[in-house]
Structures are given as structure tokens and as C-alpha cells.
């Protein structure tokens, strides 16, 4: 004779197994859907440099100027970047109050083009103008770039605040943060000399 507890235990185990199988199947389906969805291909040119300049200087875009990056300035910049600054000079726009810098920094493999507007030693705007990689483009959104508003440098060329990262975009976040610091250093240089 089959004991009732055995039947009950068998039935319970069967029910548990079905429940676990259902959980496993649902999780697998969800994981597959997420994996197949991909990142939607959000790389691209979001804003032309001329348009960015127009928005930064509503009263008229000043003439472009050139700053040769050498000596101590280059050392400071390369210390922030962690590698060589890839050009001998950089161009900028300055109307006596605000300066705009359009700089590039590599996220993982390809450069990100970033516009930075600075006034009175603080950042007023950071804008990702062009993103070329397949991952990390979330840095283009205001929820990330707005963190840099009013940011300035301490005496060790670090930002005066922590920047919250974005999961899956660590390298892009780091690149934009480095460029923000470099732009502030460059602004400091031109305002000190002028």
C-alpha cells in the first residue's frame, strides 16, 4: 500500500519542480529578449559644431582663435587625460565672458566629440556633439551632462563634485569627465593670459 505521506511528498515535489521550471523558462525568455533587443544603434552626430556655437553665443559667434598646447599646459592636460594630448594646438571661441571648446576623447576605441561652454571659471554647458561607438551613447542625455553645470576645478585640477556614472557606459562617462576637466584647464589658461 502506498503511504499517503509519500503521495503528498511526491505531489509537492512535482509542484515545486513545475514552479521552478516556470521561473527558469520565464527568466530565460526575458534574458533572451533583452540580449536580442540590442542597444538600438544610437551612435551618430547629434549637433553640428556651428549650431552648438550659435546656442552658446546667442549674440553672435566670435572669431575662432588658436591656443598652442605646450609646456606646463600640456603637462597638466596630459596628466588629466592619462595619455598624450593628440594635437599641438586647439581652437576655441571666446567673447570675453564665455569660452567654448570642442574637444575629442576616445571612449573605448573611437573618439567622442564634446562641446564645453565655460563662464567665470565654471561650466555652463556640456554637450555630446558626436558619438561613434555602439555602446555608451547614454552620456548624450541631459540627465548625465547636466551634472557638469556649475562645475569648476580645485587646485589639483579635479572637478569640485562627483559625477554619477552610467552602467554600461563607464568608459564614455570617464571620457566626458576628462574633457570637462581639460576644458576648464584651457579656459583657465586663456583667461589668465588675457
Amino acid at each position: 500500500m502506498i503511504s499517503t505521506p509519500s503521495i503528498w511528498a511526491s505531489a509537492t515535489r512535482s509542484t515545486d519542480m513545475k514552479r521552478w521550471l516556470l521561473i527558469l523558462l520565464s527568466s530565460s525568455t526575458l534574458a533572451a529578449a533583452v540580449a536580442l533587443a540590442g542597444d538600438g544603434g544610437q551612435a551618430g552626430r547629434y549637433m553640428e559644431v556651428d549650431d552648438y556655437l550659435g546656442s552658446a553665443f546667442p549674440g553672435g559667434v566670435p572669431n575662432v582663435q588658436v591656443l598652442w598646447v605646450s609646456g606646463e599646459l600640456r603637462e597638466d592636460i596630459e596628466q588629466v587625460l592619462g595619455h598624450r594630448f593628440g594635437k599641438l594646438r586647439t581652437r576655441y571661441w571666446y567673447n570675453g565672458e564665455s569660452s567654448v571648446w570642442v574637444l575629442e576623447e576616445i571612449g573605448k576605441e573611437l573618439p567622442i566629440t564634446i562641446g564645453v561652454t565655460i563662464r567665470d571659471g565654471s561650466i555652463t554647458n556640456v554637450k555630446v556633439l558626436e558619438f561613434r561607438e555602439s555602446r555608451g551613447w547614454e552620456v548624450k542625455y541631459p540627465f548625465f551632462t547636466d551634472q557638469f553645470r556649475d562645475a569648476s576645478l580645485d587646485n589639483k585640477h579635479r572637478l569640485d563634485r562627483d559625477i554619477d556614472g552610467i552602467t554600461g557606459a563607464t568608459l564614455s562617462v570617464s571620457a566626458v569627465t576628462r574633457i570637462a576637466r581639460v576644458a576648464l584647464i584651457l579656459h583657465e589658461n586663456i583667461t589668465a593670459t588675457s
Binding site: 552626430r45 553640428e48 559644431v49 556651428d50 549650431d51 572669431n63 575662432v64 582663435q65 588658436v66 593628440g86 594635437k87 599641438l88 594646438r89 586647439t90 581652437r91 573605448k108 576605441e109 573611437l110 568608459l171
Partner: protein, 230 residues
């Protein structure tokens, strides 16, 4: 190693030219174009721009000329002008995408100023070579345009060798070894079999261990452990 590839720098360092690049079937392309000016030469190999023997920039889709003004070499890409020093150091890159009606067709010099032509229209650089503006009154006469000339064979060979040395990252090769794809599609299936085998062997090994442990436990519970009964 792959999980920490960026920190280890394996995505920025390359496997040099040799049997590995041959295994991948990678060959250096012939030069697309080459221009000489001021005793120096710009050459495009694939999407890598060389100034003499120095690698100047990657990601360049076209080379449309080179001219020199005030010691700065202005090299025309598709929609940008790359500035180089005579030592092959990148000075700057001026992106003209928003200004030009189409790709740069030619670059030249007139009155000491760099001029580019795009869509039949002309654009002239300022004195600092910091920017370009439309030259609405320019009709194209009197411009010393850059013309392509073949690069010397020994230079081409040297550039091709350098090109091969920058095609395969250590990360790529490591990933292909890890997945088995370095041996082609069969290699990938072989690695799948190895991975599944490891899982099966782990599970059956655990099962066998449990079986043995349960079997020893039953023998110890019946007597004094040595199989004799009194």
C-alpha cells in the same frame, strides 16, 4: 583577461605583422592616394593616413590633396582638413562637414592662403589656418592645386608593414582563441563541445561523489564499520 581587457590595455596594443596576421588572411592594401608637397608626402593606406613614414591619423576615408602654408601642411580628407607639422605631428583637424556642399574635391594654395573646392564652390582658410569661409568671389583661377603622384615603392612597403602591425589587437586574438574561432567555424563547435563536456563531467562527478558518500554512510550505520557482525 577579456573581462579586464581595457585595464590591461590589450584592446589598445596590437599583435605585430607575422604569422598571426597571415592566419587571419589580412593583407595590407595598396595606397589609395598619395600627394607630395614641400618635400614631404601624405599617403592613405586603407583608412590610415601617413605623413612620410609617420602614422598621422586613423579613420580617414579619403585623401584629396596636400599643400603647405607657413610651415603647416594642410591635408584634405573627405570633409576635414588635417594639419601636420613637418615632423609628422598632428597639429589640428578642422571639420568642415557643416559648411561644405559635398566632399572636398581639391585643395590648393592661392596668395599664401589654403583653398579647398567642394561642389564646385571655393572656401578659403584664414591666416592662422584656424577656419575656412566661403570665397564667394573666387573663380578658381590662379590656384596651385595639389595633384596626386605615386608613392615610391620602398615607402609603400614600409607603410604596409606598419599598417599590418596595427590591424589586430591582442584582445581580438584572445577572444578568438577563447571562442575557438581562431580555427574557423569547426573550432567554435569544438569549444562548445568542450564547454558542455566540462559541465556534464562536473555534474556527473558530483553525482558519483554523492553516490559513494551515501553508500559509505549506509555501511557504517549497520555495524562497527568493518563489515563484521557479532
Amino acid at each position: 583577461m577579456l573581462n579586464h581587457g581595457h585595464r590591461l590595455g590589450i584592446d589598445q596594443n596590437y599583435v605585430g605583422p607575422g604569422w598571426v596576421t597571415k592566419l587571419y588572411g589580412i593583407e595590407a592594401p595598396p595606397p589609395s592616394d598619395s600627394f607630395a608637397a614641400g618635400g614631404h608626402r601624405a599617403t592613405l593606406l586603407g583608412e590610415t593616413l601617413y605623413f612620410d613614414r609617420s602614422r598621422l591619423l586613423k579613420g580617414i576615408s579619403a585623401l584629396n590633396g596636400m599643400t603647405v602654408s607657413e610651415g603647416l601642411f594642410a591635408i584634405a580628407g573627405d570633409a576635414s582638413v588635417i594639419l601636420s607639422s613637418s615632423e609628422g605631428e598632428r597639429v589640428d583637424e578642422i571639420d568642415l562637414t557643416g559648411m561644405l556642399p559635398g566632399p572636398i574635391q581639391r585643395i590648393g594654395l592661392k596668395g599664401g592662403r589654403v583653398v579647398v573646392m567642394s561642389g564646385g564652390k571655393y572656401f578659403v582658410a584664414d591666416a592662422m589656418l584656424a577656419g575656412f569661409s566661403p570665397a564667394t568671389e573666387e573663380n578658381g583661377s590662379g590656384i596651385d592645386w595639389a595633384d596626386a603622384t605615386p608613392a615610391p615603392a620602398d615607402l609603400v612597403a614600409e607603410l604596409q608593414n606598419d599598417f599590418l602591425g596595427e590591424t589586430l589587437t591582442i584582445e581580438r586574438v584572445t577572444a578568438d582563441i577563447h571562442s575557438g574561432r581562431i580555427l574557423g567555424p569547426a573550432g567554435a563547435y569544438f569549444m562548445d563541445f568542450i564547454a558542455l563536456s566540462l559541465i556534464v563531467l562536473s555534474m556527473t562527478g558530483l553525482f558519483q561523489w554523492r553516490q559513494r558518500r551515501n553508500g559509505n554512510g549506509r555501511r557504517n550505520g549497520n555495524g562497527n564499520g568493518n563489515g563484521h557482525s557479532h
